[in-house]
């Protein structure tokens, strides 16, 4: 059954589409989980896999199941400003989502998630819900955030980015006010982005939209609505970490 091509990947999990059913295979253990008609079914190797592998598979399975309830995970950090408005910071792995979320959280913003946010449509727009996972920040940012250099904080074993988990004030949900497409750069730039650019970026960061199931079209429609929000492209450097909150609020004013 694994002959189907990989439809998308999330972390170490490969997803394949089998006529409406989805198989999730962990790349390093070959453990498999099926998502079939909204149910998660254990496949070969699942029982023997260690807990980390099972958790990763279950996490991706949950992402797919949420689609049935009109809730869609977007690969983005989510933060809530002092006025209660959610901002999604979307970008590839390593683009600085956690770093910027942490920088904003230090100034009093609350955190919905640093690597994923659940989005659903509401009567007057879109709501972002928290996807609770620890906010992990690279130890290499200790020059900007000295508290990270606490000897009691230990990076996860084997993490090449040496990230430590930071406890920040979380938020449960908030209406989405803006989307920020982020990337690291040598110079700072913040400018409005075109809706088409935003929609393409959101699709890239929501690969499960292309699953050939009944939820692909409503999922795409939700992303279309998200792209119609105010959207900014942010190229950031370390120099703006302590002024970012003011910059973003001014951009939306």
């Amino acid at each position: 059954m694994s002959a189907a091509p990989i439809a998308w990947q999330w972390g170490d999990v490969d997803a394949r589409d089998h006529d409406g059913r989805t198989s999730l295979t962990h790349r390093h253990s070959d453990a498999r989980l099926w998502v079939d008609a909204g149910r998660l079914l254990r496949g070969p190797g699942y029982e023997r896999a260690d807990s980390t592998v099972r958790q990763e598979l279950a996490r991706v399975g949950a992402i797919i199941r949420l689609r049935e309830r009109g809730r869609y995970l977007v690969h983005a950090a989510g933060v809530v400003d002092p006025r209660g408005r959610a901002w999604l910071l979307s970008g590839d792995s390593g683009s600085g989502k956690s770093t910027l979320a942490y920088a904003l959280a230090r100034t009093g913003w609350t955190v919905l998630g640093d690597d994923g946010v659940i989005v659903e449509r509401a009567e007057n727009g879109l709501i972002a819900h928290g996807w609770r996972e620890p906010l992990r920040v690279s130890r290499q940012l200790a020059d900007a955030f000295p508290e990270i250099d606490d000897g009691a904080l230990h990076p996860a074993a084997g993490d090449p980015r040496h990230r430590v988990s930071m406890r920040m004030r979380g938020a449960r949900s908030a209406p989405i006010a803006a989307l920020v497409l982020i990337e690291r750069g040598a110079t700072f730039a913040l400018e409005a982005a075109a809706p088409l650019t935003a929609l393409a970026a959101l699709i890239r960061q929501s690969p499960w939209v292309i699953l050939g199931d009944a939820y692909a079209r409503p999922h795409l429609e939700l992303l279309r609505h998200a792209a119609a929000q105010p959207v900014f492209q942010l190229r950031h450097t370390r120099a703006e970490l302590h002024s970012l909150a003011g910059v973003l609020l001014e951009a939306l004013a």
């Binding site: 091509p5 439809a7 998308w8 589409d17 075109a194 809706p195 088409l196 935003a198 929609l199 393409a200 699709i203 939209v209 292309i210 699953l211 050939g212 692909a216 079209r217 795409l220 429609e221 992303l223 279309r224 792209a227 119609a228």
Partner: protein, 90 residues
Amino acid sequence: MITRCTIPGEVASASVEDGTVLLHLGTKRYFSLNDTGAEIWSLIEQDVPLGEIPARLTAAYDVPIADARVAVAELLAALAEQGLVSVEAE
């Protein structure tokens, strides 16, 4: 010459202010169309006869009819190559 084209069921689309994204749920690929391409796509979705599309573009964008015909033909060929439309030719 292409005389008719239809959109396969496994193609989904979403339009925004400045263009349209096409998603092929079979090949798992997505494509962006600029505003002109999006206009052509919209006319295809509305089942406007292919022969009428260049004239509609000419009216909307003030382009010569010959240029509009070329634009439609090139886009249809590109869409067909990616399986985003099925075409019938004579």
